[in-house]
Symmetry: C2
Subunit: 108 residues, 2 copies
Amino acid sequence: MQVSELIWSETEKEIAHQAFNRAYERELMTLIEYVQVQSHAIKKIDDVWNLHDFLSARRHQIDGKYDFRYSVLLFVFADLLKEGWLHQEDLEGLEKDKLAKITALSRI
Amino acid sequence: MQVSELIWSETEKEIAHQAFNRAYERELMTLIEYVQVQSHAIKKIDDVWNLHDFLSARRHQIDGKYDFRYSVLLFVFADLLKEGWLHQEDLEGLEKDKLAKITALSRI
């Protein structure tokens, strides 16, 4: 069965939403902390434009990455797992086949 | 004579460069101070994206505004004067006709 054709039970949908939101919160909290630290070090205009460039890149990246469509969700979870924003325990309760696919994809 | 056809003496060119740089420095220092204050108040992700939006707009605006071409310089100086980044005394030494044009344009 194709990843895009997987069936998600109501319980799994709930788990998926929570896992997705947790990863998003973790990544954004880390971003906020980074911006706070960087902005305290602003002394000259290049520091301001560097911060702007950084935020442009991160915003674009985050907007593209957090895509909650079931057809792509295993890929999204695999990326988040690889990057450390999602933890294995966040996914507990998903069926074994999905977990195995996510883990396998996260190793690519 | 058209504004774009004005002749600038070497002394005037030097004064114009200094005035232009002074205005630029003033505006950027104010921007840096603003970003420092705003960034200290960052608590949530909306604050980060609001800062990003603000920087995008200001960068675009500043890039467009600081145009050191003699053909448009009186207009640039008029805008900077109106916005307070340039002071009348920065322009002392320019010929009276140019000063009058800048002052008149700054009132539009």
